[in-house]
Protein backbone atom coordinates (compact mmCIF):
# COMPACT_ATOMS: atom_id res chain seq x y z
CA UNK A 1 0.00 0.00 0.00
CA UNK A 2 2.64 2.48 1.03
CA UNK A 3 4.81 1.40 -1.86
CA UNK A 4 1.96 2.35 -4.18
CA UNK A 5 1.53 5.71 -2.47
CA UNK A 6 5.26 6.37 -2.53
CA UNK A 7 5.45 5.63 -6.24
CA UNK A 8 2.60 8.01 -6.97
CA UNK A 9 4.22 10.82 -4.99
CA UNK A 10 7.53 10.25 -6.72
CA UNK A 11 5.94 10.79 -10.10
CA UNK A 12 4.14 13.92 -8.98
CA UNK A 13 7.18 15.99 -8.02
CA UNK A 14 8.75 16.18 -11.49
CA UNK A 15 5.29 16.61 -13.02
CA UNK A 16 4.57 19.68 -10.93
CA UNK A 17 7.93 21.17 -11.88
CA UNK A 18 7.08 20.55 -15.53
CA UNK A 19 3.73 22.22 -14.97
CA UNK A 20 5.44 25.30 -13.61
CA UNK A 21 7.77 25.35 -16.62
CA UNK A 22 4.88 25.12 -19.06
CA UNK A 23 2.91 27.83 -17.27
CA UNK A 24 5.96 30.06 -17.22
CA UNK A 25 6.79 29.53 -20.88
CA UNK A 26 3.22 29.98 -22.06
CA UNK A 27 3.03 33.30 -20.31
CA UNK A 28 6.27 34.52 -21.82
CA UNK A 29 5.41 33.40 -25.33
CA UNK A 30 1.79 34.37 -25.13
CA UNK A 31 -0.03 37.56 -25.78
CA UNK A 32 1.23 40.88 -24.65
CA UNK A 33 4.34 42.37 -23.29
CA UNK A 34 4.51 42.11 -19.50
CA UNK A 35 6.41 45.36 -19.31
CA UNK A 36 3.73 47.18 -21.28
CA UNK A 37 0.98 45.66 -19.14
CA UNK A 38 2.83 46.59 -16.00
CA UNK A 39 3.12 50.20 -17.09
CA UNK A 40 -0.51 50.31 -18.16
CA UNK A 41 -1.74 48.95 -14.85
CA UNK A 42 0.54 51.31 -12.98
CA UNK A 43 -0.77 54.13 -15.13
CA UNK A 44 2.70 55.12 -16.21
CA UNK A 45 2.96 56.36 -19.82
CA UNK A 46 4.88 53.78 -21.86
CA UNK A 47 7.78 55.88 -23.04
CA UNK A 48 10.78 53.97 -24.39
CA UNK A 49 12.72 54.79 -21.21
CA UNK A 50 9.90 53.66 -18.95
CA UNK A 51 9.63 50.44 -20.96
CA UNK A 52 13.33 49.77 -20.66
CA UNK A 53 13.23 50.42 -16.93
CA UNK A 54 10.23 48.20 -16.50
CA UNK A 55 11.88 45.44 -18.49
CA UNK A 56 14.97 45.38 -16.40
CA UNK A 57 12.95 45.71 -13.18
CA UNK A 58 10.94 42.65 -14.15
CA UNK A 59 14.03 40.81 -15.26
CA UNK A 60 12.74 40.45 -18.81
CA UNK A 61 16.07 41.29 -20.42
CA UNK A 62 17.71 38.14 -19.14
CA UNK A 63 17.68 34.86 -21.08
CA UNK A 64 14.55 32.74 -20.69
CA UNK A 65 16.24 29.94 -18.79
CA UNK A 66 17.73 32.34 -16.28
CA UNK A 67 14.36 34.02 -15.86
CA UNK A 68 12.72 30.70 -15.08
CA UNK A 69 15.39 29.64 -12.62
CA UNK A 70 15.12 33.00 -10.92
CA UNK A 71 11.40 32.53 -10.68
CA UNK A 72 11.82 28.98 -9.38
CA UNK A 73 14.30 30.08 -6.73
CA UNK A 74 11.83 32.64 -5.49
CA UNK A 75 8.90 30.25 -5.75
CA UNK A 76 10.60 27.73 -3.52
CA UNK A 77 10.73 30.45 -0.90
CA UNK A 78 7.00 30.97 -1.55
CA UNK A 79 7.63 34.34 -3.18
CA UNK A 80 5.45 34.46 -6.27
CA UNK A 81 5.97 38.09 -7.08
CA UNK A 82 3.70 41.04 -6.61
CA UNK A 83 0.48 41.80 -8.41
CA UNK A 84 0.70 44.46 -11.11
CA UNK A 85 -2.61 45.81 -9.90
CA UNK A 86 -2.61 45.64 -6.11
CA UNK A 87 1.16 45.78 -5.57
CA UNK A 88 0.79 43.20 -2.86
CA UNK A 89 2.47 39.76 -2.74
CA UNK A 90 0.48 37.48 -4.98
CA UNK A 91 0.51 34.41 -2.81
CA UNK A 92 -0.67 36.41 0.16
CA UNK A 93 -3.64 37.75 -1.78
CA UNK A 94 -4.57 34.34 -3.11
CA UNK A 95 -4.32 32.69 0.27
CA UNK A 96 -6.52 35.42 1.66
CA UNK A 97 -9.29 34.52 -0.75
CA UNK A 98 -8.67 30.78 -0.86
CA UNK A 99 -10.57 29.70 2.29
CA UNK A 100 -13.83 31.03 0.85
CA UNK A 101 -13.36 28.99 -2.29
CA UNK A 102 -12.40 25.89 -0.35
CA UNK A 103 -15.44 26.31 1.85
CA UNK A 104 -17.70 26.55 -1.18
CA UNK A 105 -16.08 23.65 -3.02
CA UNK A 106 -15.90 21.52 0.11
CA UNK A 107 -19.54 21.97 1.01
CA UNK A 108 -20.50 21.29 -2.60
CA UNK A 109 -18.50 18.07 -2.63
CA UNK A 110 -20.16 16.99 0.60
CA UNK A 111 -23.54 17.83 -0.83
CA UNK A 112 -22.75 15.84 -3.95
CA UNK A 113 -21.86 12.73 -1.98
CA UNK A 114 -24.70 13.00 0.50
CA UNK A 115 -27.32 13.45 -2.19
CA UNK A 116 -26.03 11.24 -4.99
CA UNK A 117 -25.15 8.09 -3.06
CA UNK A 118 -28.54 7.41 -1.46
CA UNK A 119 -30.43 8.43 -4.60
CA UNK A 120 -28.21 6.34 -6.86
CA UNK A 121 -28.53 3.30 -4.61
CA UNK A 122 -32.29 3.60 -4.24
CA UNK A 123 -32.75 4.16 -7.96
CA UNK A 124 -30.76 1.03 -8.80
CA UNK A 125 -32.37 -1.18 -6.19
CA UNK A 126 -35.88 -0.12 -7.14
CA UNK A 127 -35.33 -0.13 -10.85
CA UNK A 128 -38.17 1.15 -13.04
CA UNK A 129 -40.06 2.41 -9.99
CA UNK A 130 -41.40 5.95 -9.77
CA UNK A 131 -38.44 7.00 -7.65
CA UNK A 132 -36.03 5.56 -10.17
CA UNK A 133 -37.63 7.21 -13.17
CA UNK A 134 -37.96 10.55 -11.40
CA UNK A 135 -34.34 10.41 -10.30
CA UNK A 136 -33.17 9.61 -13.79
CA UNK A 137 -35.13 12.44 -15.35
CA UNK A 138 -33.82 14.92 -12.80
CA UNK A 139 -30.26 13.68 -13.13
CA UNK A 140 -30.35 13.91 -16.89
CA UNK A 141 -31.81 17.39 -16.72
CA UNK A 142 -29.24 18.55 -14.20
CA UNK A 143 -26.34 17.42 -16.33
CA UNK A 144 -27.45 19.66 -19.19
CA UNK A 145 -28.03 22.75 -17.10
CA UNK A 146 -25.51 25.61 -17.21
CA UNK A 147 -24.60 26.54 -13.65
CA UNK A 148 -24.67 30.27 -14.39
CA UNK A 149 -28.27 29.95 -15.55
CA UNK A 150 -29.33 27.82 -12.63
CA UNK A 151 -27.70 30.20 -10.19
CA UNK A 152 -29.71 33.15 -11.44
CA UNK A 153 -32.91 31.14 -11.56
CA UNK A 154 -32.40 30.15 -7.93
CA UNK A 155 -31.63 33.73 -6.96
CA UNK A 156 -34.75 34.94 -8.73
CA UNK A 157 -36.93 32.31 -7.10
CA UNK A 158 -35.57 32.28 -3.58
CA UNK A 159 -34.22 35.78 -3.14
CA UNK A 160 -36.11 38.11 -5.41
CA UNK A 161 -39.52 36.47 -5.16
CA UNK A 162 -39.61 34.54 -1.93
CA UNK A 163 -37.03 36.49 0.09
CA UNK A 164 -36.00 33.25 1.80
CA UNK A 165 -32.29 33.34 1.10
CA UNK A 166 -29.72 36.07 0.52
CA UNK A 167 -28.76 36.59 -3.10
CA UNK A 168 -25.09 37.15 -2.63
CA UNK A 169 -22.11 37.40 -0.36
CA UNK A 170 -20.59 35.14 2.19
CA UNK A 171 -21.86 34.86 5.74
CA UNK A 172 -23.64 32.15 7.61
CA UNK A 173 -25.17 28.92 6.44
CA UNK A 174 -27.99 30.74 4.65
CA UNK A 175 -25.45 32.34 2.34
CA UNK A 176 -24.01 28.93 1.46
CA UNK A 177 -27.22 27.25 0.38
CA UNK A 178 -27.79 28.65 -3.10
CA UNK A 179 -24.14 28.77 -4.19
CA UNK A 180 -23.48 25.23 -2.97
CA UNK A 181 -26.54 23.85 -4.72
CA UNK A 182 -25.61 25.63 -7.93
CA UNK A 183 -22.07 24.32 -7.83
CA UNK A 184 -22.98 20.80 -6.74
CA UNK A 185 -25.74 20.12 -9.24
CA UNK A 186 -23.67 18.96 -12.17
CA UNK A 187 -21.46 16.63 -10.14
CA UNK A 188 -24.42 15.24 -8.21
CA UNK A 189 -26.28 14.36 -11.38
CA UNK A 190 -23.24 12.78 -12.99
CA UNK A 191 -22.63 10.77 -9.85
CA UNK A 192 -26.21 9.53 -9.59
CA UNK A 193 -26.09 8.22 -13.12
CA UNK A 194 -22.67 6.70 -12.64
CA UNK A 195 -23.57 4.99 -9.37
CA UNK A 196 -26.85 3.70 -10.69
CA UNK A 197 -25.19 2.26 -13.78
CA UNK A 198 -22.40 0.72 -11.77
CA UNK A 199 -24.81 -0.83 -9.29
CA UNK A 200 -27.03 -2.29 -11.97
CA UNK A 201 -23.98 -3.83 -13.56
CA UNK A 202 -22.80 -5.37 -10.32
CA UNK A 203 -26.19 -6.63 -9.25
CA UNK A 204 -25.80 -9.26 -11.92
CA UNK A 205 -22.17 -10.06 -11.31
CA UNK A 206 -21.17 -13.70 -10.88
CA UNK A 207 -19.72 -12.99 -7.48
CA UNK A 208 -23.18 -11.90 -6.36
CA UNK A 209 -24.70 -15.12 -7.65
CA UNK A 210 -22.01 -17.09 -5.88
CA UNK A 211 -22.68 -15.24 -2.65
CA UNK A 212 -26.35 -16.17 -2.89
CA UNK A 213 -25.41 -19.76 -3.72
CA UNK A 214 -23.57 -19.88 -0.42
CA UNK A 215 -26.63 -18.53 1.36
CA UNK A 216 -25.14 -15.19 2.36
CA UNK A 217 -27.56 -12.82 4.05
CA UNK A 218 -29.15 -10.45 1.54
CA UNK A 219 -28.03 -7.41 3.51
CA UNK A 220 -24.44 -8.54 3.15
CA UNK A 221 -24.85 -9.46 -0.51
CA UNK A 222 -25.95 -5.93 -1.30
CA UNK A 223 -23.71 -4.13 1.18
CA UNK A 224 -20.48 -6.09 0.89
CA UNK A 225 -20.50 -7.53 -2.58
CA UNK A 226 -22.57 -5.21 -4.72
CA UNK A 227 -22.03 -1.84 -3.11
CA UNK A 228 -18.35 -2.07 -2.36
CA UNK A 229 -17.57 -3.04 -5.93
CA UNK A 230 -20.02 -0.56 -7.43
CA UNK A 231 -18.58 2.33 -5.44
CA UNK A 232 -15.13 1.88 -6.94
CA UNK A 233 -15.76 3.66 -10.24
CA UNK A 234 -17.62 6.34 -8.33
CA UNK A 235 -14.59 6.96 -6.14
CA UNK A 236 -12.29 7.21 -9.13
CA UNK A 237 -14.69 9.73 -10.64
CA UNK A 238 -14.33 11.90 -7.53
CA UNK A 239 -11.10 13.25 -8.94
CA UNK A 240 -12.89 14.45 -12.01
CA UNK A 241 -15.59 16.03 -9.86
CA UNK A 242 -13.02 17.97 -7.87
CA UNK A 243 -11.64 19.39 -11.11
CA UNK A 244 -15.13 20.43 -12.20
CA UNK A 245 -15.85 21.91 -8.78
CA UNK A 246 -12.66 23.99 -8.78
CA UNK A 247 -13.49 25.33 -12.22
CA UNK A 248 -17.18 25.73 -11.57
CA UNK A 249 -16.48 27.60 -8.35
CA UNK A 250 -15.13 30.47 -10.43
CA UNK A 251 -18.48 30.92 -12.13
CA UNK A 252 -20.50 30.51 -8.95
CA UNK A 253 -18.34 33.07 -7.17
CA UNK A 254 -19.13 35.62 -9.86
CA UNK A 255 -22.87 34.96 -9.72
CA UNK A 256 -23.14 35.18 -5.96
CA UNK A 257 -20.36 37.71 -5.37
CA UNK A 258 -18.67 35.06 -3.25
CA UNK A 259 -15.29 36.46 -2.14
CA UNK A 260 -13.23 33.57 -3.34
CA UNK A 261 -10.08 33.06 -5.32
CA UNK A 262 -11.89 32.52 -8.63
CA UNK A 263 -13.41 35.96 -8.69
CA UNK A 264 -10.02 37.47 -7.99
CA UNK A 265 -8.46 35.43 -10.76
CA UNK A 266 -11.02 36.44 -13.39
CA UNK A 267 -10.30 40.11 -12.91
CA UNK A 268 -6.59 39.33 -12.95
CA UNK A 269 -6.95 37.55 -16.27
CA UNK A 270 -8.97 40.41 -17.65
CA UNK A 271 -6.27 42.85 -16.55
CA UNK A 272 -3.45 40.65 -17.75
CA UNK A 273 -2.01 40.64 -14.25
CA UNK A 274 0.57 37.97 -15.09
CA UNK A 275 1.97 37.14 -11.66
CA UNK A 276 -1.53 36.52 -10.33
CA UNK A 277 -2.53 34.43 -13.33
CA UNK A 278 0.57 32.33 -12.97
CA UNK A 279 0.23 31.76 -9.25
CA UNK A 280 -3.49 31.13 -9.45
CA UNK A 281 -3.10 28.45 -12.10
CA UNK A 282 -0.30 26.77 -10.20
CA UNK A 283 -2.15 26.94 -6.91
CA UNK A 284 -5.31 25.39 -8.28
CA UNK A 285 -3.33 22.74 -10.09
CA UNK A 286 -1.46 21.80 -6.93
CA UNK A 287 -4.73 21.54 -5.03
CA UNK A 288 -6.20 19.45 -7.84
CA UNK A 289 -3.18 17.16 -7.91
CA UNK A 290 -3.27 16.80 -4.14
CA UNK A 291 -6.94 15.86 -4.20
CA UNK A 292 -6.34 13.35 -6.98
CA UNK A 293 -3.61 11.76 -4.93
CA UNK A 294 -5.98 11.44 -1.99
CA UNK A 295 -8.56 9.88 -4.29
CA UNK A 296 -5.98 7.44 -5.64
CA UNK A 297 -5.07 6.41 -2.12
CA UNK A 298 -8.72 5.89 -1.28
CA UNK A 299 -9.12 3.87 -4.45
CA UNK A 300 -6.15 1.68 -3.59
CA UNK A 301 -7.55 1.13 -0.12
CA UNK A 302 -10.92 0.05 -1.55
CA UNK A 303 -9.63 -2.16 -4.34
CA UNK A 304 -6.81 -4.54 -3.40
CA UNK A 305 -6.12 -5.28 -7.04
CA UNK A 306 -4.65 -1.79 -7.39
CA UNK A 307 -2.38 -2.27 -4.42
CA UNK A 308 -1.04 -5.43 -5.95
CA UNK A 309 -0.57 -3.77 -9.31
CA UNK A 310 -3.27 -5.70 -11.09
CA UNK A 311 -5.41 -2.93 -12.56
CA UNK A 312 -8.28 -3.75 -14.84
CA UNK A 313 -8.72 -7.36 -13.86
CA UNK A 314 -12.24 -8.86 -13.87
Amino acid sequence: MWGYVGRRILVLGPMLVLVSVVVFLLLRWGAGDPALTYLRLSQIPPTPQALADARSALGLDRPLGAQYLGWLARAVRLDFGTSYVTRRPVLGDLLYYLPATLELAGVSLLLTIVVSVPLGVLAALHRESLLDNLTRVLAFTGVSMPSFWLGFLLVYAFSVQLHWLPPMGRGGVAHLVLPAITLALMSTCINIRLLRGSLLEHLHARSVLYARVRGIRERWVIGRHVLQNALIPVVTALGMHIGELLGGAVIVEIIFAWPGVGRYAVSAIYNRDYPVMQCFTLLMTVIFVGCNLAVDILYAWLDPRIRFGRENTA
Binding site: H204, R206, S207, L209, Y210, A211, R212, V213, R214, G215, I216, R217, E218, W220, R224, H225, Q228, N229, I232, L302, D303, P304, R305, F308, R310, T313, A314
Partner: protein, 284 residues
Amino acid sequence: MTAHPVLRVTELEIAAFGPHGSLPLVRGVSLSVLANRVVGLIGESGCGKSLTCLGILGLLPGNLRRTRGEVFLRGEAVHTLAPDAMRRHCGRSVAMILQNPMSCFDAVHTIGRHFRETVASHGLQTNGGFRDRARSALHEVGFDEPDAILGLYPFQMSGGMLQRVMIALALLLEPPLLIADEPTTDLDAVAQATILDLLASLRKRRGLGVLLVTHDLSVIARLADEVAVMREGAIIERGPVTAVFAAPRESYTASLLRAHHRLDRDYRTHLGAWLGPAAGTESA
Protein backbone atom coordinates in the same frame (compact mmCIF):
# COMPACT_ATOMS: atom_id res chain seq x y z
CA MET B 1 -31.09 -47.51 2.53
CA THR B 2 -34.62 -46.20 2.15
CA ALA B 3 -33.99 -42.64 3.31
CA HIS B 4 -35.20 -39.69 1.23
CA PRO B 5 -33.09 -38.90 -1.77
CA VAL B 6 -30.96 -35.84 -1.01
CA LEU B 7 -32.45 -34.24 -4.10
CA ARG B 8 -35.66 -34.92 -5.91
CA VAL B 9 -36.90 -32.81 -8.78
CA THR B 10 -40.18 -33.53 -10.53
CA GLU B 11 -41.34 -32.00 -13.80
CA LEU B 12 -39.33 -28.82 -13.41
CA GLU B 13 -40.11 -26.18 -16.00
CA ILE B 14 -38.34 -22.88 -16.46
CA ALA B 15 -39.33 -20.17 -18.91
CA ALA B 16 -37.99 -16.80 -19.98
CA PHE B 17 -40.52 -14.00 -19.88
CA GLY B 18 -40.22 -11.10 -22.29
CA PRO B 19 -42.40 -8.41 -23.79
CA HIS B 20 -43.64 -10.85 -26.42
CA GLY B 21 -44.58 -13.74 -24.19
CA SER B 22 -42.70 -16.63 -22.61
CA LEU B 23 -40.16 -19.06 -24.00
CA PRO B 24 -39.75 -22.42 -22.25
CA LEU B 25 -36.11 -23.22 -21.64
CA VAL B 26 -36.33 -26.25 -19.37
CA ARG B 27 -39.16 -28.69 -19.92
CA GLY B 28 -40.39 -31.40 -17.59
CA VAL B 29 -37.02 -32.24 -16.01
CA SER B 30 -37.12 -34.88 -13.30
CA LEU B 31 -34.07 -35.97 -11.32
CA SER B 32 -33.28 -37.88 -8.22
CA VAL B 33 -29.98 -38.02 -6.36
CA LEU B 34 -29.41 -40.44 -3.52
CA ALA B 35 -26.74 -40.15 -0.85
CA ASN B 36 -23.35 -41.47 -1.93
CA ARG B 37 -24.38 -41.46 -5.59
CA VAL B 38 -23.19 -39.25 -8.40
CA VAL B 39 -25.76 -38.34 -11.01
CA GLY B 40 -24.35 -36.83 -14.17
CA LEU B 41 -26.27 -34.37 -16.28
CA ILE B 42 -24.78 -34.10 -19.72
CA GLY B 43 -25.60 -32.09 -22.79
CA GLU B 44 -24.19 -29.49 -25.08
CA SER B 45 -23.90 -25.80 -24.21
CA GLY B 46 -27.21 -24.04 -24.01
CA CYS B 47 -29.33 -27.13 -23.38
CA GLY B 48 -30.43 -25.85 -19.99
CA LYS B 49 -28.23 -27.83 -17.59
CA SER B 50 -27.00 -24.80 -15.63
CA LEU B 51 -30.45 -23.27 -15.61
CA THR B 52 -31.77 -26.45 -14.04
CA CYS B 53 -29.25 -26.13 -11.24
CA LEU B 54 -30.09 -22.48 -10.65
CA GLY B 55 -33.75 -23.37 -10.79
CA ILE B 56 -33.29 -25.95 -8.04
CA LEU B 57 -31.75 -23.27 -5.83
CA GLY B 58 -34.31 -20.66 -6.77
CA LEU B 59 -31.58 -18.33 -8.05
CA LEU B 60 -32.72 -17.80 -11.59
CA PRO B 61 -31.63 -14.51 -13.14
CA GLY B 62 -33.87 -11.59 -14.11
CA ASN B 63 -36.67 -12.61 -16.35
CA LEU B 64 -36.49 -16.38 -15.90
CA ARG B 65 -38.91 -18.15 -13.63
CA ARG B 66 -39.94 -21.61 -12.51
CA THR B 67 -43.34 -22.21 -14.02
CA ARG B 68 -43.97 -25.75 -12.86
CA GLY B 69 -42.41 -28.54 -10.91
CA GLU B 70 -41.37 -29.52 -7.44
CA VAL B 71 -38.03 -29.60 -5.70
CA PHE B 72 -37.40 -31.61 -2.57
CA LEU B 73 -34.22 -31.43 -0.51
CA ARG B 74 -33.99 -34.37 1.86
CA GLY B 75 -37.71 -34.79 1.54
CA GLU B 76 -38.52 -31.19 2.36
CA ALA B 77 -40.41 -29.23 -0.30
CA VAL B 78 -38.49 -26.08 -1.17
CA HIS B 79 -40.12 -24.98 -4.38
CA THR B 80 -42.78 -23.07 -2.48
CA LEU B 81 -40.37 -21.23 -0.21
CA ALA B 82 -39.85 -17.47 -0.29
CA PRO B 83 -36.33 -16.36 -1.26
CA ASP B 84 -35.37 -15.61 2.31
CA ALA B 85 -36.42 -19.04 3.52
CA MET B 86 -34.71 -20.69 0.57
CA ARG B 87 -31.53 -18.84 1.43
CA ARG B 88 -31.22 -20.92 4.58
CA HIS B 89 -30.98 -24.07 2.49
CA CYS B 90 -28.32 -22.68 0.18
CA GLY B 91 -25.01 -23.83 1.54
CA ARG B 92 -26.63 -25.94 4.26
CA SER B 93 -28.86 -28.50 2.55
CA VAL B 94 -27.27 -28.05 -0.84
CA ALA B 95 -23.97 -26.57 -1.86
CA MET B 96 -22.98 -25.60 -5.36
CA ILE B 97 -19.67 -25.12 -7.11
CA LEU B 98 -19.56 -23.13 -10.32
CA GLN B 99 -17.31 -22.91 -13.32
CA ASN B 100 -14.78 -20.16 -13.82
CA PRO B 101 -14.06 -19.75 -10.12
CA MET B 102 -12.03 -16.58 -10.65
CA SER B 103 -15.15 -14.65 -11.59
CA CYS B 104 -17.15 -16.05 -8.67
CA PHE B 105 -14.99 -14.80 -5.85
CA ASP B 106 -15.22 -11.17 -4.90
CA ALA B 107 -11.85 -9.61 -5.65
CA VAL B 108 -12.07 -7.00 -2.94
CA HIS B 109 -12.44 -9.54 -0.16
CA THR B 110 -9.95 -12.07 1.13
CA ILE B 111 -10.63 -15.79 1.02
CA GLY B 112 -10.96 -15.70 4.78
CA ARG B 113 -13.69 -13.11 4.50
CA HIS B 114 -15.60 -15.41 2.16
CA PHE B 115 -15.40 -18.20 4.73
CA ARG B 116 -16.36 -15.98 7.62
CA GLU B 117 -19.47 -14.58 5.98
CA THR B 118 -20.61 -18.03 4.88
CA VAL B 119 -20.38 -19.34 8.41
CA ALA B 120 -21.92 -16.21 9.92
CA SER B 121 -24.84 -16.11 7.48
CA HIS B 122 -26.00 -19.47 8.71
CA GLY B 123 -25.97 -18.39 12.30
CA LEU B 124 -22.98 -20.42 13.35
CA GLN B 125 -20.43 -19.07 15.73
CA THR B 126 -17.98 -16.63 14.16
CA ASN B 127 -15.34 -15.34 16.60
CA GLY B 128 -12.51 -17.69 15.76
CA GLY B 129 -15.09 -20.44 15.28
CA PHE B 130 -15.08 -20.06 11.56
CA ARG B 131 -11.32 -20.44 11.41
CA ASP B 132 -11.36 -23.99 12.68
CA ARG B 133 -14.06 -25.02 10.23
CA ALA B 134 -12.24 -23.23 7.42
CA ARG B 135 -8.93 -24.78 8.26
CA SER B 136 -10.28 -28.30 8.33
CA ALA B 137 -12.22 -27.77 5.10
CA LEU B 138 -9.15 -26.38 3.33
CA HIS B 139 -7.07 -29.19 4.65
CA GLU B 140 -9.53 -31.70 3.34
CA VAL B 141 -9.27 -30.31 -0.18
CA GLY B 142 -5.52 -30.58 -0.12
CA PHE B 143 -4.10 -27.31 1.18
CA ASP B 144 -1.23 -27.85 3.57
CA GLU B 145 -1.15 -24.28 4.86
CA PRO B 146 -4.76 -23.18 5.26
CA ASP B 147 -3.89 -20.03 7.20
CA ALA B 148 -1.84 -18.67 4.33
CA ILE B 149 -4.75 -19.27 1.95
CA LEU B 150 -7.20 -17.45 4.19
CA GLY B 151 -5.16 -14.28 3.98
CA LEU B 152 -4.93 -14.21 0.20
CA TYR B 153 -7.09 -12.36 -2.29
CA PRO B 154 -8.72 -14.38 -5.07
CA PHE B 155 -6.65 -12.80 -7.81
CA GLN B 156 -3.53 -14.05 -6.12
CA MET B 157 -4.47 -17.66 -6.76
CA SER B 158 -4.79 -19.87 -9.82
CA GLY B 159 -8.02 -21.26 -11.23
CA GLY B 160 -7.30 -24.72 -9.95
CA MET B 161 -6.58 -23.49 -6.44
CA LEU B 162 -9.74 -21.42 -6.43
CA GLN B 163 -11.82 -24.35 -7.52
CA ARG B 164 -10.49 -26.30 -4.54
CA VAL B 165 -11.30 -23.38 -2.24
CA MET B 166 -14.77 -23.39 -3.73
CA ILE B 167 -15.15 -27.05 -2.83
CA ALA B 168 -13.90 -26.28 0.67
CA LEU B 169 -16.53 -23.55 1.00
CA ALA B 170 -19.12 -26.01 -0.21
CA LEU B 171 -18.17 -28.54 2.45
CA LEU B 172 -18.04 -25.97 5.21
CA LEU B 173 -21.57 -26.55 6.44
CA GLU B 174 -21.58 -30.29 5.79
CA PRO B 175 -24.33 -30.41 3.17
CA PRO B 176 -25.58 -33.79 2.02
CA LEU B 177 -25.89 -32.65 -1.59
CA LEU B 178 -23.33 -31.05 -3.86
CA ILE B 179 -24.21 -29.60 -7.24
CA ALA B 180 -21.15 -29.25 -9.43
CA ASP B 181 -21.76 -27.09 -12.49
CA GLU B 182 -18.97 -27.64 -15.01
CA PRO B 183 -16.34 -27.88 -12.26
CA THR B 184 -13.47 -28.69 -14.60
CA THR B 185 -14.17 -26.45 -17.59
CA ASP B 186 -11.64 -23.56 -17.75
CA LEU B 187 -9.03 -25.61 -15.92
CA ASP B 188 -5.86 -27.06 -17.33
CA ALA B 189 -5.53 -30.82 -17.55
CA VAL B 190 -3.55 -31.26 -14.34
CA ALA B 191 -5.98 -29.13 -12.33
CA GLN B 192 -8.87 -31.04 -13.87
CA ALA B 193 -7.48 -34.36 -12.73
CA THR B 194 -6.88 -33.00 -9.23
CA ILE B 195 -10.44 -31.76 -8.92
CA LEU B 196 -11.94 -34.97 -10.21
CA ASP B 197 -9.86 -37.06 -7.83
CA LEU B 198 -10.87 -34.77 -5.00
CA LEU B 199 -14.56 -35.04 -5.81
CA ALA B 200 -14.31 -38.81 -6.02
CA SER B 201 -12.61 -39.10 -2.62
CA LEU B 202 -14.99 -36.63 -0.98
CA ARG B 203 -17.98 -38.49 -2.23
CA LYS B 204 -16.67 -41.71 -0.78
CA ARG B 205 -15.54 -40.21 2.51
CA ARG B 206 -18.60 -38.13 3.23
CA GLY B 207 -21.28 -40.08 1.43
CA LEU B 208 -22.19 -36.99 -0.58
CA GLY B 209 -24.91 -37.02 -3.16
CA VAL B 210 -23.60 -35.21 -6.21
CA LEU B 211 -25.35 -33.72 -9.21
CA LEU B 212 -22.58 -33.36 -11.75
CA VAL B 213 -23.30 -31.10 -14.69
CA THR B 214 -20.90 -31.11 -17.60
CA HIS B 215 -20.55 -31.32 -21.35
CA ASP B 216 -17.48 -33.53 -21.07
CA LEU B 217 -18.16 -37.26 -21.39
CA SER B 218 -14.87 -38.28 -19.79
CA VAL B 219 -15.80 -36.45 -16.60
CA ILE B 220 -19.07 -38.40 -16.49
CA ALA B 221 -17.26 -41.62 -17.16
CA ARG B 222 -14.79 -40.92 -14.39
CA LEU B 223 -17.18 -39.93 -11.62
CA ALA B 224 -20.82 -40.63 -12.31
CA ASP B 225 -22.91 -43.66 -11.41
CA GLU B 226 -25.95 -42.60 -13.42
CA VAL B 227 -26.28 -40.21 -16.27
CA ALA B 228 -29.14 -38.16 -17.72
CA VAL B 229 -28.75 -36.78 -21.20
CA MET B 230 -30.27 -33.36 -21.73
CA ARG B 231 -31.19 -31.83 -25.04
CA GLU B 232 -32.99 -28.52 -25.67
CA GLY B 233 -34.32 -28.32 -22.16
CA ALA B 234 -35.57 -31.89 -21.76
CA ILE B 235 -34.03 -35.15 -20.55
CA ILE B 236 -34.10 -37.58 -23.40
CA GLU B 237 -32.33 -40.53 -21.90
CA ARG B 238 -31.15 -41.71 -18.52
CA GLY B 239 -29.70 -44.75 -16.86
CA PRO B 240 -26.54 -46.21 -15.33
CA VAL B 241 -23.44 -44.80 -16.98
CA THR B 242 -22.06 -48.05 -18.31
CA ALA B 243 -25.39 -49.03 -19.82
CA VAL B 244 -26.05 -45.70 -21.49
CA PHE B 245 -22.54 -45.35 -22.83
CA ALA B 246 -22.38 -48.95 -24.08
CA ALA B 247 -25.81 -49.02 -25.67
CA PRO B 248 -27.44 -45.61 -26.08
CA ARG B 249 -31.11 -45.72 -27.03
CA GLU B 250 -31.34 -42.23 -28.50
CA SER B 251 -29.52 -41.25 -31.66
CA TYR B 252 -28.51 -37.95 -30.07
CA THR B 253 -26.73 -39.75 -27.26
CA ALA B 254 -25.07 -42.01 -29.78
CA SER B 255 -23.81 -39.06 -31.79
CA LEU B 256 -22.41 -37.44 -28.62
CA LEU B 257 -20.52 -40.61 -27.87
CA ARG B 258 -19.32 -40.96 -31.42
CA ALA B 259 -17.98 -37.44 -31.47
CA HIS B 260 -16.16 -38.00 -28.21
CA HIS B 261 -14.66 -41.28 -29.41
CA ARG B 262 -13.55 -39.78 -32.67
CA LEU B 263 -11.71 -37.03 -30.88
CA ASP B 264 -10.24 -39.56 -28.55
CA ARG B 265 -9.22 -41.83 -31.39
CA ASP B 266 -7.60 -39.00 -33.31
CA TYR B 267 -5.76 -38.04 -30.18
CA ARG B 268 -4.48 -41.55 -29.72
CA THR B 269 -3.65 -41.95 -33.40
CA HIS B 270 -1.52 -38.88 -33.47
CA LEU B 271 0.10 -39.44 -30.12
CA GLY B 272 -0.08 -43.21 -30.15
CA ALA B 273 3.58 -43.87 -30.75
CA TRP B 274 4.51 -41.27 -28.19
CA LEU B 275 2.06 -42.61 -25.59
CA GLY B 276 3.36 -46.17 -25.92
CA PRO B 277 1.63 -49.57 -25.83
CA ALA B 278 -0.37 -48.85 -22.63
CA ALA B 279 -2.48 -46.37 -24.55
CA GLY B 280 -4.11 -49.06 -26.57
CA THR B 281 -6.96 -49.59 -24.04
CA GLU B 282 -10.43 -48.17 -24.65
CA SER B 283 -11.24 -44.81 -23.11
CA ALA B 284 -14.81 -45.72 -22.09
